[in-house]
Symmetry: C2
Subunit: 229 residues, 2 copies
DNA sequence: CTCTGTGAACATATTCACAGCC
DNA sequence: GGCTGTGAATATGTTCACAGAG
């Protein structure tokens, strides 16, 4: 939740892309990859927007924050645009992440197929439970929490994933920050406090379903009222 | 992404709570539960906001959409507010969900501890792979896709979770909708199209990390420039 | 003529600041 | 006096609609 702000474009190189746009750039990248696989080498904002599931105007506005990478009257060169977005979001390099908490969810994340093609490399697994330390999960050996500092330093890891129970989340976040991690993806159902300069994003599996349940309830509750339609 | 809209409060009973507020209500519920466990029976908007990780004004505005459940000069009764929010988001009942795709992620979701206490009950597991059908995961037997219609109908399930590879996602979504599912949580890295009236929410594990990577890149790239501070 | 890039209009969300009740 | 509930102000995000490049 502690996300850096810089939405105004100042001088030359510092861009300042809106958060909402940043969150969609990976979606566009995926859509462009799909088009490449289909052998499409050029596309309009309408086609790309369809593949990404957004409104074409929104897509064009989003891309306009990066620069003018299209051709008026023609559209976008798929490969060129793909490279430009990849460069913008740092996908020209791989990012190493360390996962803390190798329970069911942590194990699933460790072997998640979708990461490698998106510039994410699971570089290390850490767990507090001595029973799990030494275990091998999809080619990686689970390390002890005591080795966290060394792992983060040695492999120059800046992104950590918390996949522990909620009760351990804050403690783990503190350890990650102390080890030098500056970005955290938190799957634990708990709020974690971090110092300024550290970004946290939260994925809460229950909350997503609770939101759907809310809408379900409304559907069920409202339909009887709208008997005319 | 196809979320029903009704932000305007019309006559009496139809409320119309903003999406952003709906997404935070489960967070408040969790914070209230935490306070109850600590033996706190009353709290101010400031205390609750701290526990939920939001601004107190935002919290008060969010709660104002539900009604006036606080007492001026005093604060909120934890138990009473907890009940009111629970009722609003449909947490006074349990919601059955069916998970499709029992790979690593699907298995992890099946045994996720956080659901049961949040009104979510994993009622059925389904997989297209005959090898997996019949397997038992945390007390549930994996069923065949052929049985999907019967399962959804018999257990009156309205929420489905897609945990398949991206390539299967649209096919699975179609099957879920055909079976009568009206809300889908999609973990597959793919866009799914659904008819009007069906809600889809998407959780994309890669994208969350890619967004963090973007911010990491900025931190790394910008610091050398801001040498004065 | 086609399709991008973008100012302007609109919609939603957040935060401020204070009136009103306890 | 203290804290909620909320109008008003601000910030952010989305969509429209069209000027302008090719």
């Amino acid at each position: 939740m502690t996300i850096l702000r810089s939405p105004r474009l100042a001088d030359g190189s510092a861009r300042g892309i809106p958060d909402a746009t940043v969150a969609r750039l990976p979606v566009y990248l995926r859509a462009l990859n799909a088009l490449t696989e289909q052998g499409v080498s050029s596309c309009s904002s309408i086609e790309l927007a369809e593949n990404a599931g957004v409104n074409p105007a929104k897509l064009r506005k989003d891309l306009s924050y990066l620069g003018s990478y299209g051709t008026r009257g023609v559209g976008y060169d798929v490969e060129y645009l793909r490279y430009q977005i990849a460069r913008e979001i740092g996908q020209t390099q791989d990012w190493d992440v360390v996962i803390v908490g190798i329970g069911n969810l942590g194990s699933a994340l460790s072997s998640y197929q979708g990461f490698s093609t998106r510039g994410i490399r699971v570089a290390a697994l850490v767990d507090a439970d001595p029973q799990r330390v030494g275990t091998e999960i999809s080619g990686l050996t689970v390390s002890s929490m005591d080795d966290l500092d060394a792992i983060v330093a040695d492999r120059a890891i800046s992104i950590g994933v918390i996949a522990t129970p909620g009760t351990a989340a804050q403690e783990v976040a503190d350890r990650l920050v102390a080890a030098g991690i500056t970005s955290i993806l938190n799957f634990a159902p708990a709020l974690v406090q971090v110092p300024d300069g550290v970004d946290v994003r939260k994925v809460d599996l229950s909350i997503e379903l609770q939101i759907l349940a809310y809408h379900e309830q409304r559907k069920a509750g409202i339909e009887p009222k709208v008997s005319g339609i």
